[in-house]
Structure formats: structure tokens, C-alpha cells
């Protein structure tokens, strides 16, 4: 094949010029329509009768500045919970998914346990899991059981999200075509080696987008551990809001969560688009 060095014809140059002007026109239309839409939304909100009240209690710059350092400080706790819980969830989810895939009869109790776990923890609201673990485990007075709220929060989130992630992994494993497994087994690879070298690497690529989606959701749900006494972003905002009767600190906390989740959401989109391209060929 030859490198493209040819001179484009007059017709092609005209076509490319036309394509460019059309691209510019599309861009202009998009920009204008966005401005009009945002303008209309702004007018509708700021023109509402209650706007001065809302502006004072939700968009108060002084309250924002006053609460910001402490909310930011509390948010660091959210980030820590998230960073510790995430790998634990991945591990738990993968283990449960693999357990559910064990076929030998001797593993029946393990398999039953895994099924029971996913059924129960997907069914119970996350908030309820956090409350039960947060208040129930310390009450047991067990030797060595954690009493620290952050640790308890991490455990509760891991239990709640592990069930979802296990199902995501299982769907990914099941989505690898059976002929792949047959090919690997026919080469003499054991069930475990088939999983490790053939099935999981293929499954992994497919589950990354839905996993990231679950983690975006986990980032927000770290706020739920405020209910068992962890002083994180939401709790800090609550403290300020309660003392000054101004809701702006909530807005500060919301802003922090959004700033954390947006990059994750974009990464998810990017990975999903990439795997789409790969498969689309």
C-alpha cells in the first residue's frame, strides 16, 4: 500500500470546505441554543417569588466561606473511606462471584452462602446496613471487634456494595462465550487457571464501565456513614447549618461531592466508548 501523498482534487477540497462550514454552523447552533436555554433557566429561577429567601439561605457567600474549611476537612474523611472501601469491595465482590461459579458439589455450602449474601445485602437498604453494623457490632462487646466509627462505616459499605459488585463480576464472567472456556479446558487448563488466564481477563474489560458506575455511587454513599457519628463533610455541613440556620454549607458539601464524581463519570464514559469502539470495528 502506498502512503497518502496525493494532491486532493478541486472537488474534494470543495467538499472539505463545505464540511468545515457545516461543522462551524453546528457548533454555533449548539452554542446559541445552550445560551438561550441557560438564560431561560436563570430567569425562571431568579424571577421566582421565593428567590431572595433561597439566595440568602442557600447561596450565602459568608456562610460558605465560614463553613468551607471544616467541610473540606470532613470531606477528606469521605475520600479516605472511599479509598479504603473500594479495593475491599472489589476483592469481596470478586471472591463472591468466583465462589458462585464453583461447580464441584463439595463447595455447595460456600456457594449457598455466596447466594445468600448477595440476596440479603442487595435487598437491605445501604443506610440500614450502616446503622446495623455501626450500632450492632460494638454492642456485641466482642474481643477485638472494631469500635471506631470510620472502620465500622467502611465495613458496612463494603458489605453493601460487595453484593452489587459480585453480581457485576458474575455477569461479566457469564458474558465470556462458553467456547472460550471450552478452548481453555481442552488445552488442559484447570477450572482455576481457565478463570485466571482466559475468562477473567476478558470479563474484566467488560465490567470496568459498570464497576466505575458503582464506584461513583459509592463516593456519594460515603456520606451515609454520618448517621453513625462520623464527622465527615455532610455532618460538618449539618453542624454549621444547624448553628446558623443557613443551608449554604450543604451546598459546599454538594459541590465537593460533585467535583469528586465528575472526573469518575467522565472516565466511565470514556472507557465505555472505548470498549464500544473496540467491539464495533
Amino acid at each position: 500500500m502506498s502512503e497518502v501523498t496525493r494532491v486532493r482534487s478541486e472537488r474534494q477540497l470543495r467538499r472539505e470546505r463545505l464540511r468545515r462550514t457545516r461543522a462551524v454552523r453546528s457548533g454555533t447552533i449548539a452554542t446559541v441554543s445552550t445560551i438561550v436555554f441557560l438564560g431561560a433557566a436563570a430567569v425562571a429561577v431568579t424571577g421566582s417569588p421565593g428567590w431572595p429567601r433561597v439566595q440568602d439561605s442557600f447561596f450565602n457567600p459568608e456562610a460558605f466561606a465560614r463553613a468551607w474549611p471544616d467541610v473540606l476537612d470532613g470531606f477528606w474523611t469521605n475520600v479516605q473511606i472511599f479509598l479504603i472501601a473500594e479495593p475491599l469491595i472489589l476483592l469481596l465482590g470478586l471472591l463472591v462471584a468466583l465462589t458462585r461459579n464453583l461447580r464441584a458439589p463439595v463447595f455447595f455450602p460456600l456457594r449457598a452462602l455466596a447466594v445468600a449474601y448477595t440476596d440479603v445485602f442487595r435487598g437491605v437498604p445501604t443506610l440500614l446496613v450502616i446503622l446495623l453494623v455501626g450500632f450492632g457490632v460494638p454492642a456485641l462487646n466482642l474481643q477485638g471487634a472494631p469500635k471506631d466509627e470510620v472502620t465500622l462505616g467502611v465495613i458496612a459499605l463494603t458489605l453493601a456494595y460487595g453484593a452489587y459488585v459480585a453480581e457485576v463480576f458474575r455477569a461479566g464472567i457469564d458474558s465470556v462465550h462458553p467456547s472460550q472456556r471450552a478452548a481453555a479446558r481442552s488445552l488442559g487448563l484447570s477450572h482455576g487457571k481457565t478463570m485466571r488466564y482466559v475468562v477473567l481477563p476478558q470479563a474484566w474489560r467488560r465490567v470496568v464501565p459498570p464497576l466505575l458506575n458503582d464506584f461513583v455511587s459509592l463516593q456519594k454513599d460515603t456520606a451515609l456513614v454520618s448517621t453513625i457519628g462520623v464527622i465527615e463533610a455532610l455532618r460538618q455541613a449539618q453542624i454549621y447549618a444547624a448553628s446558623k440556620f443557613n443551608y449554604t454549607p450543604y451546598l459546599a458539601a454538594a459541590l465537593l461531592f460533585v467535583l469528586l464524581t465528575i472526573p469518575m463519570a467522565r472516565l466511565t464514559d470514556y472507557l465505555a466508548a472505548r470498549s464500544q469502539r473496540r467491539r464495533g470495528q
Binding site: M1, S2, E3, V4, R6, R8, S9, R11, Q12, R15, L18, R19, R22
Partner: protein, 247 residues
Amino acid sequence: MSLLTIEDVWKDYHGTSVLRGIDLAVEAHEVVCLIGASGSGKSTLLRCVNLLETVDDGAIYLDGVEITDVRANADDVRKRMGIVFQAFNLFPHMTVLDNITLAPRKVHGVGRAEAEEQARDLLARFGLSDKAAAYPDRLSGGQQQRVAIIRALATQPRLMLLDEVTSALDPALVTEVLGVIRELKEGGMTMILTTHEMGFCREIADTVCFLDDGVLLERGTPEQIFTDPAEPRTREFLKSVLDARRI
């Protein structure tokens, strides 16, 4: 005026040209057969005609109207052509009848009763009447490919593009698909097809075009191309195909 005119068409992929200035005119009722090695650009040319690929230079005209115009509506152009792929691409969640009537009903606005009647006529014509209610996975490869051809035919296209339609089939099933194409030719359908079946190409084509590395190197009647090719590359290609057949 030719039904389809391809004028100096270029197509680039990743910095290399896979089509390098293709010129080709197809008259109404003509059957044009594209031959050439894998990677010679046969399929790409069909995809350009169907606007699945945008050309990087040159122009394609259907009934005298430029379809490669930036302002042309690709859907409107495709409505007037049928394309059939190597891999059938039937919709697995629909019955044979629904596969065939989907485009007539949803694109061309034909009523369900009329569309189904036409579909049943076509199925009868190609010996598939008993498969109307079946799902594609219940059919053999040859049957699936015949349904795919019927599906393309159901919109009454001006032109049919057949891209290696027998390549995924085992020899016993090739015959029945070729029979369908033969029948189409008798019905006067204009077709461009790419194929590796040289015997069939020789039988059915009005014009044979040999593509080599993105260039339409030689064209002529089947007699001329298969018995007395002018280009050494054509001779080489035909010899390699014959050798492969002998093994």
C-alpha cells in the same frame, strides 16, 4: 445515463489509500462482479457505494445524482439500495417475517398486511415459505443468507450490493444462495457483487472487474478476463485461485 457512476474514488485508512482512483459505471440490469485478493478494496468499494464509508476523494452518482455530496441524506440514498453482508446480520430477536418486513414498514411506510404479503411472496419465490415464523437461529447458514437477501430485496431497491455473500457458508449451502442470485439476475436486478466463486462469477457477470491494491486494474466480459486477461497481475491472481482449487 448509467444507474451508478463511480468517479475517481479514493479511500484512505490510517494513512494508506485502500482505494486509489476507482472509475466504474454500472448500467441498469447489469451484473458487475468484483474480483481480487483480500485487501484489494472490493468490500471497501461496496461500503463506499452504500455510504457506510465516506469517500476521501472522487464522487459516486446514483441515477445521475451525487450521493457523496456532503448535503445528501445517507438514509435516503440507502433506501434505494440493498446490501447483503458476508455475516448475514439478521436480527436475532425477530422472526424471518419480521426481519423482512421491518424496513418496508418502518422506513417506507408500507402497512403491515401489505408488507407481510410481499414478504410471503418473496419467501415463496425463494423456497422459504415454511420459515416465515422461524427465528434466525433455527435456520441453516444458507437459509439465513437467503433471508438476508430477501430482506434487502423487500424494499425494492434500484441496486443490490452483495459482499462475499457465500464466504461464510460451507460448499453444500453455497449452491442455494447462488441460485437466489441467479434468479435475481433473471428478474433484471442491477447488482454489484464481490465473490471468491470464480465459476459463478464467470457464469453470472456481465462485467468482471479485477481490483489490485486499490486500483481497478482490468475490466471486461467474463470470457475476456478468464480466458485472455491483459494484465499480468490478473493472470497471476487467477492462477493462484485455480491452484488453490486444485489442492
